[in-house]
Every structure is written in structure tokens, then in C-alpha cells.
Amino acid sequence: MVNILANPARFLRLAGAVLPWCWAVAAVSGGIGLWLALFVSPADYQQGDSVRIMYIHVPAAWMALGAYMLVAAFSAVALVWKHPLAHIVAASAVPLGAGFTAICLVTGMLWGKTSWGTWWVWDARLTSVLVLFFLYLGLIALRSAFDDSERGNRAAALLALVGFVNIPIIKFSVDWWATLHQPASVLRVGGPAIHPSMLWPLLAMAAAFMAYFAALLLLSVRAEIAGRKLQALLIAAGRDEQGTPAELRGQAR
């Protein structure tokens, strides 16, 4: 019991210090990013103003991949060292990653309709990102499918590690296969092949997305820690035969 709560206490202190900075970065760089993306950056010479979808599509895609790498890393830590906080961090990041993947897919479909003339093609990049989205949903479902939360956590951590094979497939799908989706133009060997007038709004939006993700992750972990403390108290109260108020028992999950 002490072991479980000792590290979360340190985490909560750290989270309290970091959280205001996350909100500040999210608000400031999000404001600057939107302003640059919608008003300052030029329309593309081929795609016109539809290129502005890029400023949310690409950062969302980076977050979709980044969140999954975080989930996989913390799942590995949780499985190897049985660190109680690691499962909580992994579980908290999954729905956020699913959200960013949904943004990536929907904005990509809208962008695809304008530049390719179709909402969807089953090319390697689009398909592998759709697989990533289903992986996220699978992780949510699998974790909640067990009555014993410890077994649910272990099963989800294993699936997260197995699913990691999809990440390099997504990243390099545009190089390995002939895809309709274009290859990387920012994170590539030889530096970004994109003009600064379009690179800056992209980086500002990416910073905003990352900071927002970090803020929600910290809050979500805090909620989970409070939930587990509550559960521990309810169990202790039950053992003391004090009786547990029904309305509290309902909120223990």
C-alpha cells in the first residue's frame, strides 16, 4: 500500500509544478499557430488554401504516433518493473492518442477529397493509420474487459507492445510502398523540405498539441490515482465493517 502511493505522491507534486506550463505553452503556441496558419502562411501554389488543413493534420499525426510510443514505453516499464504508475500513464494516454488519430484521419479525408479527389484510398499509409486507430480502441476495450484490473492492465500492456510493430510501418509506409500519400517532408533525412512560412505554423501547432496532450495526460493520471486511493479506502472501510455508502461505492471505478 505504501509502495503504491509513495511514487504517485511524488508524481502529483511534480505534475502540479509542470501543469501550468503545459497550459501556457498550449495556449500561446496554439494562438500563434492558428494565427500563422490561417492568416500569415501563404496558400499553396497547387493546392490553394486547402493546404491549411496540413497545420492540424500533420501535428495530429505526429501526436497519434508519439502517444502510441509513450503507451508502448510505459507498458514495457509496467511489465518489466511492475511499476504501478506506469500502467496508469499508459491507460491515460490511450484515449488521448485515439482522439489525435481520429483528428488525423478525418482531416486527412477532407484534405484527400480536395487534393486527390477521393475521401479514402486503401494505400499503405492510410490503412496503417486506420489500424493504429483500431489498436487504440482495442486497448481501451481490452483493459476494461477484465474484472480483475491487474489482468486487464497486463493484457493491454502486452497488446500495446505487440502493436508497436505498426509504428515503423506507418512511418516508412510512404517509402516502402507506392502510396498516394506523399512521403515525409519535415522529419526526413536531409532536413525539412518545406518553406519556413509553412514550417513555423506547423511547428507552433505541433507544440500546442503536445502541450495540450501533456496537460490532459497529467490530469488523467491524477484522476486515476484519486480513483485508486478511493478504492483502497473503500476496501479498508469494508474490512473495518463500517459499511460503505452506496453512492461512494458506485464512484470507486
Binding site: D49, S50, L216, A223, Q242
Partner: protein, 59 residues
């Protein structure tokens, strides 16, 4: 002035794709924020009441 604003929202004819993309992103981001803060409030207020009732487990 109103013509300039209209032109801005038209996005050179791509407005029907650009704005739904931004709106969907805003909706999902706001939804994630709402879900997390609602869960945090529910669990922390329940924990507070429980700690007040049993008089132990203060952090």
C-alpha cells in the same frame, strides 16, 4: 470589409473542406478536455467525501 471576411471564410473555394477540418479538431480536443476534467472532478470529490467520512487516508 465584409467582402474580405467573406473571402477569408471562402478560403478560395476550399472553405467547405478547411473549416470542417478545423471544427472537427476543435471538437475532439474540447471533448477530450471535458472528459478528463469531468473524471478528475468526480473522483477527487468522491475521495474528499470519503476521507472526510472515515477520517483517514489524508494525503
Amino acid at each position: 470589409m465584409t467582402a474580405a471576411i467573406g473571402e477569408f471564410f471562402r478560403m478560395g473555394g476550399y472553405g467547405i473542406y478547411v473549416w470542417p477540418a478545423f471544427a472537427f479538431a476543435a471538437l475532439v480536443l474540447a471533448g477530450m478536455g471535458w472528459r478528463v476534467t469531468a473524471r478528475l472532478q468526480a473522483s477527487e470529490s468522491a475521495l474528499g467525501r470519503m476521507q472526510g467520512r472515515t477520517g483517514k487516508g489524508h494525503s
